[in-house]
């Protein structure tokens, strides 16, 4: 069936069936082109679309997102409905500014977390869900333009997405002009204000807040920045409703205010089947590792939440629920949905020193405590890992952890501090062993944790 035919047919068809259970976001098989996408999910349920055939349509998408308990999937986990409501209100209040009416929607798919692959997978396998989400969010917050950020070096993907946007324009499935933007690869470049800074013609570096993007962002307009996965969920909530969304989650139909729904988690490290998995939030860590085929060699620990997350010893971690609340309660985090299994054959202190060095090098160079504090911290951890840890070095490291936290324009210093602090807790036995016998042989193996562009020579 042609795309035009599919849209016509879907307009008179009965209700499209919501995905039963999982997966919700990434259908099996090849990515759907626009006609197939509309046949499968129904047309984009814009407010002004004729509500024929009893098809569910969220008359107020913002209220539905609030009721659904959808939270951001980019790492910060901020309630999406609330963010949308704030941007919409600011947009109504602000009127036109410098001839620019309306607000702006930015779909953030730049994914600078090295161990995360979910956003590029989503953009490759289910791009129309993301684009639906941009269009629906734009309508809900009164946006007059949209942007979709992708990580640099994905020219083919950027071209495909641009072509899809063009096709959707022909069938009025976008409602606003949407431009694809490539974001450079630095760790902090995909932070919300860094993306906006780049859109405004500046460097891709985090900006000081206030003002926050919802007050003044792209082109001075109130701007809604959402991770691409969050927008894909929104596109399904708009069609199938908040109750459907909340049927999966930490408990079925969790209480109001509790996070809910499904999430994409990238599992890597010493597992048999590394990859991106969609889970119901609240699933225990052990169950996900089992779905990924279990450990590929004797496991030692897991890193939950990426490089702003935390280390957990392996066996106690298995029962921890995969949710932000569950992981924060044990000193880790969900972050952008990243889980890495560390094998026994690696040294947790060396891996931490390696990544602390990488993160120090990723500083945007704007804030003294970060520019000075992170290299000093990385140096201390390197001493603990590769030298003979003594009390003084350990104490200096602890002092630095307190000194750098929450003193920058972005969370690079706090996130690094939290990650390093968790390593001193989880690898305390290693630290003791290193201080009596010196560094273990495992410090010399190739690192498990990815750090693009970073080299060992910088460290030792």
């Amino acid at each position: 069936m042609s795309t035009a035919g599919a849209i016509r047919a879907a307009g008179t068809a009965g209700r499209a069936l919501p995905p039963p259970g999982l997966p919700r976001l990434i259908p099996p098989g090849a990515p759907l082109h626009l006609g197939e996408h509309i046949q499968r999910y129904g047309p984009v349920p814009f407010r002004d679309a004729a509500g024929r055939g009893g098809r569910y349509r969220a008359a107020d998408l913002i209220a539905e997102a609030e009721r659904a308990g959808l939270t951001g999937r980019g790492g910060a986990g901020f309630p999406t409905g609330r963010k949308m409501r704030t941007v919409a209100e600011r947009g109504r209040r602000g009127g036109a500014l410098r001839g620019q009416p309306g607000t702006v929607v930015v779909a953030n798919g730049a994914e600078s977390e090295p161990a995360s692959a979910k956003d590029r997978l989503l953009l490759t396998r289910a791009p129309h869900l993301v684009l639906d989400g941009i269009a629906l969010a734009a309508e809900a917050v009164g946006a007059t333009r949209g942007y979709l950020s992708v990580h640099e070096g994905q020219d083919e993907l950027a071209l495909q997405l641009t072509a899809m946007i063009g096709e959707r324009d022909r069938y009025d499935q976008n409602r606003v002009p949407i431009r694809v933007v490539a974001v450079p690869g630095g760790y902090v470049a995909s932070q919300e204000t860094a993306v906006i800074s780049q859109l405004n013609g500046g460097a891709p570096k985090p900006a000081f807040v206030p003002p926050r993007p919802f007050e003044k962002g792209a082109h001075g307009r109130p701007t809604l920045v959402q991770n691409v996965e969050t927008l894909a969920h929104l596109a399904l909530i708009a069609r199938f409703g908040a109750d459907w969304f909340r049927a999966l989650g930490p408990a079925p139909w969790p209480p109001r205010g509790a996070a809910a729904g499904s999430a994409l988690i990238t599992v890597s490290g010493a597992v048999t089947r590394p990859g991106v998995y969609e889970i119901a939030l609240g699933m225990p860590v052990g169950e996900l590792i089992q779905r990924a085929g279990g450990p590929s060699e004797p496991p030692q620990a897991v890193l939950a939440g990426g490089y702003f997350g935390g280390w957990l010893p392996f066996f106690p971690a298995l029962d921890v629920p995969l949710s932000d609340a569950g992981l924060r309660a044990v000193g880790a985090a969900l972050g952008p949905g990243v889980l890495i299994v560390l094998p026994e054959s690696a040294c947790g202190l060396a891996e931490t020193a390696w990544i602390a060095g990488y993160l120090a090098g990723q500083s945007a160079g704007q804030c003294g405590p970060c520019v000075n504090g992170l290299p000093a911290l990385a140096g201390m951890i390197a001493r603990l890992a590769f030298g003979r840890p003594d009390r003084q070095t350990y104490d200096w490291a602890q002092d630095l952890l307190g000194l750098v936290a929450r003193r920058g324009a972005c969370h690079l210093p706090d996130g690094t501090a939290a990650f390093v602090a968790s390593s001193l807790r989880t690898f305390a036995d290693e630290l003791r062993a290193h201080s009596t016998a010196g560094p273990c042989a495992r410090v010399r193996r190739r690192p498990v944790l990815p750090a693009p562009g970073h080299s060992w020579d910088d460290l030792r």
């Binding site: 000081f208 804030c367 003294g368 000075n372 000194l403 003193r407």
Partner: protein, 51 residues
């Protein structure tokens, strides 16, 4: 420099950057706080409304 202007609320880290007390600025210290913010050569300080 700022730590000298407002020692009640600002200490200095090993690299000379301000460490700011978490509590809101008492009313009587607001004028001094404004001077400290204006005097900072690296724009490391910001006076914000506690709302």
């Amino acid at each position: 420099m700022c730590a000298e202007l407002l020692p009640e609320l600002i200490a200095e880290d090993p690299w000379g950057y301000p460490i700011v007390a978490a509590a809101p600025v008492p009313d009587e210290l607001v004028p001094l706080a404004r001077r400290a913010v204006a005097a900072c050569p690296t724009l490391a300080l910001l006076l914000a409304d506690a709302d």
